[in-house]
Symmetry: C2
């Protein structure tokens, strides 16, 4: 059994070996730029690791892993247009560096490339793999649409928010592990448990992302701290604060989240002060622990030996305690 670093380095190396060039270069330059921006390579790492844990040949999972990373990067390209995000991993987003048309079309091409990678998996597994991939693909789009809807909806509930991040983020993390399990020829029943483990960890992962946006170090996180607050994004932190704050603080919060002041830092500080007053960081970590504990329940049902179980637990821990 190998450690997480090994899978991450292996997939990183495989990505570097890929040629993302093509004709016309205007189409392929943004693809190469995006794929080489780096990042944690979390999703393909999960695919390889899951495949290995269940005794599969990780080299037969590499193409599917590349497909998942390419798909993930495609969603980032399009999301960045829709969210008008200036930076991604500390670098200009594609639509900023080039333009929205290039970002749309390069993204479309990456989606086809993702399917093309996946196609280079064992033939008898294609139907199962594409079924998982398509389900995840549709759900990620649904999640992004919910996310956009929330921008103009003043009555987003915590449940609705959690369903949104499940669709937008957690299903792809679960799906990446599911794909690894399928390639390792794990039974359908166990594969679904693996998916559920990944989905639960994915929920905790996104909540950690919300936390890092408010409390992280922007140099490590690669995004502007307080970015969600500046853009009035209704994250779990905000929605939880609305739930637990007194009427006065709730009013202040709602007012702050309907403004775009020139002094962004002052606004961020005011919001963080309210978050701190109500221990929102602690409450968020509490919910993360709930998802973690759900993940552990699924893990028990998968019934792995101690060493393999330890590897999955260490993965979950890494995702929970990350600072970027």
């Amino acid at each position: 059994m190998l450690n997480i670093d090994f899978y991450q380095k292996l997939i990183q190396q495989k990505i570097q070996e890929q040629s993302f060039s093509g004709t016309p270069p205007e189409l392929y330059e943004p693809i190469a730029y995006t794929m080489q921006l780096g990042g944690k390579r979390l999703r393909p790492t999960l695919t390889l690791m899951t495949c290995d844990i269940f005794g599969g040949d990780i080299y037969s999972a590499i193409n599917a892993a590349l497909g998942l990373e390419t798909f993930h990067n495609f969603t980032l390209l399009h999301d960045d247009i829709m969210d008008q995000a200036p930076l991604r991993r500390g670098q200009p987003t594609v639509y900023q560096k080039w333009d929205a048309n290039r970002a749309i079309l390069s993204g479309d091409t990456m989606m086809v490339m993702a399917y093309d990678y996946l196609l280079n998996s064992p033939k008898d597994l294609l139907s199962d793999l594409f079924t998982v991939f398509n389900k995840v693909g549709k759900e990620v789009c649904e999640g992004q649409q919910f996310d956009m809807n929330f921008e103009t909806n003043d009555h987003v509930s915590i449940d609705e928010y959690l369903e949104m991040i499940r669709l937008k983020t957690a299903v792809l993390i679960g799906g990446s592990m599911h794909v690894g399990a399928i390639i390792a020829r794990v039974s359908e029943e166990k594969s679904k448990l693996v998916y559920s483990f990944g989905e639960s960890i994915g929920m905790a992962f996104q909540l950690q992302d919300d936390l890092l946006d408010a409390y992280g170090d922007s140099n490590i996180f690669g995004k502007k701290t307080g970015g969600d607050i500046c853009s009035n994004k209704k994250t779990y932190l905000y929605l939880k604060a609305l739930e637990v704050a007194n009427e006065a603080d709730k009013s202040v919060l709602i007012k702050l989240y309907s403004s775009y002041p020139s002094d962004e830092q002052a606004k961020v500080l005011q919001v963080i002060n309210i978050f701190n007053k109500y221990q929102i960081s602690h409450l968020t970590k509490q919910l993360m622990e709930e998802y973690y504990s759900n993940a552990m329940k699924f893990l028990k049902l998968i019934d792995l030996n101690a060493e393999k179980e330890r590897l999955l637990i260490s993965l979950a821990d890494t995702l929970m305690k990350r600072d970027n």
Copy 2:
């Protein structure tokens, strides 16, 4: 052997039977709107017809046909954003009716849906089907990028233009027939000839589209006549005129194609006058005949019986002589 109308009506009926609703409705409304806008349903008709001609079971080709129509509609959704097209089939485009974000994301979802339809094809053919589909998908994106590049390129050659329309339009027409042949379990060699037949017809089809834009009746064509001229689109008509016109007319043409006058009709008339002076319509039809004759050469190599050959010829004729 059935006639073209039969396949067209069958696929139209199947599309009407589909449910394009889903959650969140903001994501699925534009999909239902797009899929129900109508149109010729050319690509899925070709899939069913090809499958039938080669003795396949057309009902096992219906999902792949739906996939091709959904993919085609996805490209229209995204192209309309990039081209800032106001109308599609006489109705407001999705990005106009809603907004660009909805058009991007609904388009992305349609692409996944296209793959999902294709997945419901005979399992042992999935690898071959996805291989064709992915190749076509990537080429269509490349074609659209070339098309965008040409907007700001003053030295587009006729060859470059023809390669652009091959990628953007003809490969999907060829691919739709290729998919039908695969499902009919035609040999790889013959399937490729079927593809080439379709690609050649697709070239003629797009040239006819260029002609209709300048010379068609907008009520029948469903798009504004002269739209390409108003938007200074470098079509075959324009590039051929540049090639054959005298220096004076060439200068006028170049000047007209660098302006956006308020009196669009006057500009369209001036351009058409130059086209007429040099018999551009005739020269375009001549090139269409060349592609038609290429298609007939591929058809001979496929070596079908007379009745089946007649059906494919009548298809080619229909596409050549259409007025919408």
